[in-house]
Symmetry: C2
Subunit: 439 residues, 2 copies
């Protein structure tokens, strides 16, 4: 159920119940009760109609065939498809080849990214905001996607960046203590920094560390504008949800507003914000964009990615409970080799003979999908897809190429991370001005 439909439904139910209460209204609070009942019945109907994919920040479930229908998601969420004309504009404005994730449609949807480019063209800057919920010790490849892309945007556009570590959220949702959540936030910060962010243009903060002051003031401003009914519709909360969950969405909303960072953007209330994120985070920013004009702020723009598939295939789930479902940045070369060889779902045929005859099914082949995320050379990738798809290249050869690419990536990451000392983390997380952030 989309938010729009939800709001419509609630309003509709309210009208109906008001009518009913006029007919046999006995008490003044009858309308709201009837409204709830009708709203519930309408939700039943909606669920019936849409027993399909569910995408929220905490649940991604595809329908029967296990594949997320991204076009449907775009319609449902009300965002726009990121088309080639926008990608061409990025190339023109930055004077460099757009990132692999843009060229290959990994970042495939947006909200007002065109406006960010319009403004940039006129000489107006913006800032980037992305984040992570620190729920695990080590990150997997999927976690890297938004950060690799954000680093590219930072370098290409020369703009400042804020990175939120929602240690409070993870402590509320997962059963982990405040202390453990804070520790994980710092550990994850090291992996993020290892992606190569520029300390002169990057402020990393954890909610437990940064909550307060102007940031908390904005949290209150947003929270005043959002009802329980709304977060129930947007995030799927229910009456048994704890009030930590119910109160959290404004905390993820407010980094979208420059006034939440007075040390970075003093007096710059009109600086636009661009949020690169996976599309499951869209509900937070739909809410944020609804509220922004009501409190006198600009709506943040978004650029949103697909989900990174599990090794077992797109229908599978990368889960901390199954270490073989994902490649972790802490995996050894041997583990990467084993995981890819044993667990990466192959679109190749069951016998070499059939493979030569029919070729691989690239639509479901995980090694090819992973290569399309991480193999930078377009010609190289195209060649592999052609040869493999035609059956001239075997699964083993493609896997072997992927192992090479991933091992190089993970090795590079491991080396970069080993250089991220506690002092480096402190430097990124210090609440400080960034005087050269637009240079």
């Amino acid at each position: 159920m989309t938010m729009k439909r939800c709001i419509w439904t609630q309003a509709e139910a309210q009208r109906k119940s008001t009518y009913l209460s006029l007919s046999f209204g006995r008490r003044r609070y009858f309308p709201s009760a009837l409204s709830s009942l009708l709203f519930f019945l309408q939700m039943e109907v909606d669920r019936e109609e849409e027993q399909e994919q569910v995408v929220t920040p905490w649940e991604v479930a595809a329908k029967g065939d296990g594949k997320i229908d991204y076009d449907k998601l775009i319609t449902k969420f009300g965002c726009q498809k990121l088309d080639h004309s926008l990608i061409d504009r990025v190339q023109r404005l930055t004077g460099q080849l757009p990132h692999v994730f843009l060229r290959r449609g990994v970042f495939f949807a947006h909200r007002e990214f065109d406006q960010i480019l319009n403004a940039y063209e006129k000489g107006d800057k913006f800032y980037l905001y992305t984040g992570r919920g620190p729920s695990s010790e080590s990150l997997h490849l999927g976690h890297l996607i938004p950060f690799l892309f954000t680093k590219y945007l930072q370098d290409a556009f020369k703009v400042p960046l804020v990175i939120q570590l929602t240690d409070d959220e993870k402590s509320i949702w997962k059963n982990i203590t405040v202390e453990e959540s804070k520790r994980l936030a710092r550990e994850n910060a090291k992996d993020i920094i290892a992606c190569g962010f520029d300390v002169n243009r990057t402020f990393i903060f954890s909610d437990f560390g940064y909550m307060g002051g102007a940031f908390y003031e904005n949290v209150v401003r947003v929270a005043k504008c959002v009802s329980f009914n709304q977060v129930r519709g947007i995030f799927g909360f229910d009456n048994e949800s704890n009030i930590g969950k119910i109160g959290f969405p404004p905390v993820q909303a407010v980094p979208s507003f420059p006034s939440s960072f007075p040390h970075l953007f003093p007096g710059e209330s009109k600086l636009r914000c661009l949020i690169p994120c996976a599309i499951d985070q869209d509900p937070y920013f739909r809410m944020t964009r609804d509220v922004a004009p009501r409190i006198g702020y600009d709506k943040p723009a978004l650029i949103e990615s697909l989900f990174f598939p599990a090794l077992q295939g797109e229908a599978g789930k990368m889960s901390a409970g199954d270490p073989n479902s994902a490649i972790y940045l802490t995996d050894s070369d041997k583990m990467i080799r084993n995981k890819v060889n044993k667990h990466a779902f192959s679109g190749g045929q069951d016998s070499q003979e059939n493979h030569r005859k029919y070729g691989a099914n690239l639509e479901v082949d995980i090694p090819v999908k992973y290569l399309s995320f991480f193999l930078e050379d377009d010609a190289d990738l195209e060649h592999i897809k052609q040869e493999y798809g035609a059956g001239r290249m075997l699964t083993g050869q493609v896997k072997s190429r992927l192992i090479e690419v991933l091992t190089a990536l993970v090795t590079r990451h491991r080396e970069a991370r080993s250089k991220v000392t506690d002092e480096v983390v402190d430097a990124f997380m210090a609440v400080r001005p960034l005087p050269w952030m637009f240079d």
Copy 2:
């Protein structure tokens, strides 16, 4: 509806609906919907039974006769009556006459105040916590009650005190901006300081100023333990309530825990907290006491006061919309005189003749009630009550005595407040250790 009954009702509804869903359960989420419906119906029945007094932090409404039934409130909330043996113990332990508000039953209920005294007797200290929602520029007499009493407790027991100004709450509930709410908090702090608190033992903070760090960590710990259903039952929130309201109760809860003030109580996780407040704040601390053991903290103790009556009588309401309903600390001598003479509800008879014959009805007489709050001399008060009750003293004489007492109080306050400079406010509100706070 008491919290206990509410929780019971919800559990009961859940049982009933589970049964129903077994009979004609079509869908897995049917039980929760039926549960909501049954819960609502049960609430209807409860309301029917108890169309009586409502006491929440935002609404105090008596039943038909306009008088709050405090005994019923004690039973409903589940607190204890503050009896004479406890007041005698206070006298013994502090070596001084208990405060007028104790002697005359203004503070009339408690939770575990006896345990605070037991511990104090053994040499264990405690700390005091009280607060104010800064919703108006100037305070009236009723607002002073908890502060005057808290100052007495601080002096008598030589203990530290934290005072919370819930500027965030007022910005959420009332339609005032964050900036205005912060300004009012500082203005109110001046009135509070003027009550004579000791800067060496008192930390005043506003939520907008102090939120963050260990305080926010405790907010999250509490919020994780409380569901929407619970705050709905305790505070009367509904589905249209904004999530700022729903998320607020933990903010008022956590000053009950010493770990929320690491600059005051480093490592002192076992220091008990005593909260002097009006009984309408009890719901916050019922919730706090429920949660405390679940997160490894001690429950705060409470000592709770009656409500201060409006000039128009106990059935009236002191409201900012009607300046004649209350005496403000900014009222001039002339205004006090006029308000008492013109608006203070009198229990005297309609003619002097009848008055001499029947005497005044002290039960409803506001001048006598006000004197019982603010006239310190017990013998003097007793004399007035006897003479006035017997008809030998006239309303005009009692009012005149009250004007004298209130004018002195307000003058003293005005003078004290004029000495509270911004520097003094800063000193009280500085986040600092209080090394001599137990001396």
